[in-house]
């Protein structure tokens, strides 16, 4: 295809929109995200394609392999238009029946419908499912709707209109003005206003400037950036073009996590397609503006999510942060003025150009505007990707959207912000999603990881988990982080091993305060947060470990006796069947007995026992 002008782009949009619309027949939106791939969606799709051919429906049915739909736990899944019928947990064997029933006879296949875990009712239509009903897709507006490997689909949904407007009708000042008016804050975690960042870089002198996209989504439990890249890669590219015009940059890099092969593949395809149509490269849309984008693959280092470390990594060095100032807006990649924005931030930009900053800011709270995408996971029924307006309460997110806690267990806390964040306990679940409100209760908004934990999670062990992560990922440049996090981990290990002393709590607090004050980069400064927030809300669990040598959640093997309570045991034999070491003896109607010589302390029996009978 030849390079487009603005007129061509508009003509293509009309044409693509017409092809995109469902007039007669069916459109099957099959999720092709990483999650669904892993549960076998590719096989299901093959079977679906075959069934469509077998029933002679190739002219009236279009199968679209979309990016991540968001409801990852139900994969492989598919939405059928018209009607928005939602099918879940499909297998290849289901396909002939589904095609015959729904597409030939017009009777949707009920047995593959979703059943709400709270109401126990069957919900056939996607928009009626409470998981989707409370959401407001903006950054995710195209997820599960378009084929991310087809630029025409994106163009049909107003793709590259924002870039066209920015390139032809707006000055850099106007672009930055709209960004400031939108109130959009950095979605990577720090929450710095994007418009202000762009303003700094645009005012920096120099001919060579860079626009970087941070796709090094390192927080464990966060997968919104992966999903955006897999579902709507062009939105990110378009955001970068607009940013480039605002600061007058000619070159952009997307620093992508190597653990995300599908996202990298789809980004690569998107860049090629955009280049072919003249939407990236020289003289974009005939505007005279040049901008190139390349993907740079990371090599597995959490610290490279920090902006100065990320830039060092692109330069081919060890990815270690450096002190700021000078800020990257003045001296960034290769010492040139640089802006770095997160995937989700950039995906919001095209819509802000089209609809205006005021439109974006109309949703949200006083200081936090627009929407935020969360990756909801852990001990919650509806695991997946959730985009809610700022100001939504955590309770709505966990209970209305998330469908509550499985296995009739009790909610304990939700962990926000990954290793830099903290746990929010039950009594604060009504606080709104807002940068400042979340910070007040000792967590951070972060990049959007929200991991729900039930009563079987040990909070000391959780703090230990994050500290293990941080000390392993510490780059080693500054002493407070390198040595301090190691000392914190040693203390937590000691407590989990049942050797904790009362003075350890004070040591944890003192060390945490010092690390916070003195570490070089954001990673180190926030490293003690998981310790501080668990100490704040779950001090009783620390005390139980230290004073009573007891782990209330029964997760710390060193504090467990591996014995069966004679009174609580219901003689069901579940532990016996599950034990991998044959360490449990049990006969029908008899109490189980654990042989400690054979026991490998793997905790499987604790997980399996429904009556808390093993202590």
């Amino acid at each position: 295809m030849s390079k487009l002008t603005v007129q061509d782009l508009n003509a293509l949009r009309e044409k693509a929109a017409e092809q995109y619309a469902v007039k007669d027949g069916f459109k099957l939106l099959m999720c092709g995200g990483t999650g669904c791939h892993a549960t076998g969606s590719l096989k299901v799709k093959d079977a679906l394609d075959k069934a469509i051919v077998d029933y002679g429906l190739t002219d009236t049915v279009r199968v679209v392999e979309t990016g991540c739909n968001g409801f990852c736990a139900l994969g492989p899944l598919m939405v059928v238009q018209p009607g928005g019928i939602f099918y879940q947990k499909m297998s290849a064997e289901d396909m002939p029946e589904l095609v015959k029933s729904h597409l030939v006879e017009g009777k949707p296949l009920k047995r593959l419908f979703y059943k709400d875990p709270m109401t126990k009712k069957t919900v056939p239509v996607q928009d009626d499912m409470s998981f989707f009903a409370h959401q407001m897709p903006r950054a995710l507006r195209n997820k599960g709707i378009i084929d991310p490997e087809k630029i025409e689909d994106y163009i049909a949904r107003d793709g590259y209109q924002g870039a066209a407007k920015a390139l032809f009708d707006m000055s850099p000042e106007q672009i930055i003005g709209e960004m400031k008016a939108s109130g959009l804050r950095g979605r990577g975690g720090a929450g710095f206003p994007a418009g202000v960042k762009w303003d700094f870089a645009s005012k920096s002198s120099g001919d060579v400037k860079f626009v970087l996209c941070n796709a090094d989504e390192g927080d464990p439990g966060a997968f919104m950036d992966r999903s955006i890249l897999e579902a709507d890669p062009h939105a990110v590219l378009e955001g970068m073009i607009i940013a480039a015009k605002a600061i007058n940059a000619r070159q952009g890099y997307i620093y992508a996590r190597t653990e995300y092969p599908l996202a990298i593949k789809r980004l690569g395809i998107a860049i090629e397609q955009a280049k072919e149509l003249g939407l990236i490269g020289e003289d974009i849309l005939g505007s005279g503006f040049d901008f190139n984008v390349e993907i740079y693959q990371g090599a597995g280092a959490f610290v490279c999510g920090e902006e100065t470390a990320l830039m060092r990594s692109i330069e081919g060095k060890r990815g270690m942060p450096r002190p700021r100032p000078p800020f990257p807006a003045l001296k960034g990649l290769w010492e040139k003025p640089t802006i770095l924005n997160n995937v989700e931030t950039l995906a919001n930009v095209p819509q802000i150009m089209i609809n205006g900053g005021a439109w974006y800011a109309a949703v949200g709270t006083e200081t936090s505007k627009g929407t935020k995408v969360f990756a909801l996971s852990g001990d919650v029924n509806n695991i997946g990707l959730v985009e809610v307006p700022m100001g939504t309460s955590l309770r709505t997110m966990i209970y209305d959207i998330g469908g509550g806690i499985p296995k009739k267990r009790k909610f304990k806390a939700v962990q926000l912000g990954g290793p830099s964040g903290g746990c929010v306990p039950d009594q604060y679940l009504d606080i709104p999603v807002d940068y400042e409100e979340i910070a007040k209760v000792g967590a951070i908004m972060g990049s959007g990881g929200a991991i729900v934990m039930d009563e079987h999670t040990c909070m000391v062990d959780m703090a230990r988990f994050f500290m293990d992560f941080i000390q392993d990922e510490s780059c080693g440049k500054c002493t407070p982080c390198r040595e301090g996090t190691r000392r914190l981990l040693q203390l937590l290990d000691k407590i989990c091993d049942g050797e904790g002393e009362p003075s350890d709590i004070e040591q944890l607090e003192v060390l945490s305060a010092i690390i916070k004050e003195t570490a070089l980069c954001g990673l180190g400064q926030t490293a003690p947060n998981p310790v501080l927030s668990t100490l704040r809300y779950f001090k009783d669990e620390y005390d139980a470990h230290i004073l009573e040598k007891r782990c209330p959640a029964k997760r710390c093997a060193a504090l467990l006796k591996f014995e069966v309570d004679q009174k609580l045991c219901k003689r069901c034999g579940l532990c016996f069947k599950a034990c991998p070491a044959d360490a449990i003896t049990w006969k029908k109607k008899e109490i189980a007995v654990i042989d400690k010589d054979k026991c490998v302390e793997c905790l499987t029996c604790y997980e399996k026992c429904r009556f808390d009978a093993i202590f």
Binding site: E259, G316, D379, T457
Partner: protein
């Protein structure tokens, strides 16, 4: 481009691999900051990064040995030890942790006498605890080669591994 005589001897690296390594170096030599890319591609060719390969890359890319080693040792992706035929990557992200990765690692460890970061003596499996794979909807998650397995548990993990010889 280097000629064959300058190539170090190494049991794990065939002449064909050296040819490919030469191509990677030639393609990236003039690109600033491309050392991470070169290391990645060479590791894909050989399976890991022996010292001989890193030295060879250093000469080819005109970088000090220390600089090449510094980069290779910094990033988790690079391994200087040979790997098993199947690398078992168990996600140790928060969601997977909450849902029982500890038990899964323990079960694999007991069965194959294998620790995180280790390789079995017969070089069948290497076991790695990896950073969040971003597939938290399927937690706990395990990746073997190109296959992603979701909803792994201590109960079913050995059954999954059986299929990888």
């Amino acid at each position: 481009m280097s000629n064959n005589q300058n190539r170090p001897q190494h049991a794990d690296i065939t002449g064909e691999m050296w040819d490919q390594i030469d191509q990677v170096i030639a393609a990236n030599r003039s690109i600033a900051g491309s050392i991470i890319t070169v290391l990645r591609e060479c590791q894909t060719i050989v399976g890991y990064l022996p010292v001989e390969v890193m030295d060879y890359i250093g000469i080819g890319m005109n970088l000090a040995r220390s600089e090449v080693y510094g980069v290779a040792s910094f990033y988790a992706l690079f391994s200087m030890e040979p790997k098993g035929r199947h690398t078992v990557k168990v996600c140790t992200g928060t969601a997977c942790y909450v849902k029982g990765v500890k038990e899964i690692l323990g079960r694999i460890g007991n069965e194959y006498d294998l620790k995180e970061g280790g390789t079995t003596e017969d070089r069948r499996f290497s076991l790695e605890g990896v950073r969040c794979l971003g597939a938290c909807g399927l937690a706990p998650v395990m990746v073997i080669g190109d296959d992603t397995h979701g909803d792994v548990s201590a109960d079913n993990v050995l059954g999954i591994l059986k299929d990888y010889d």
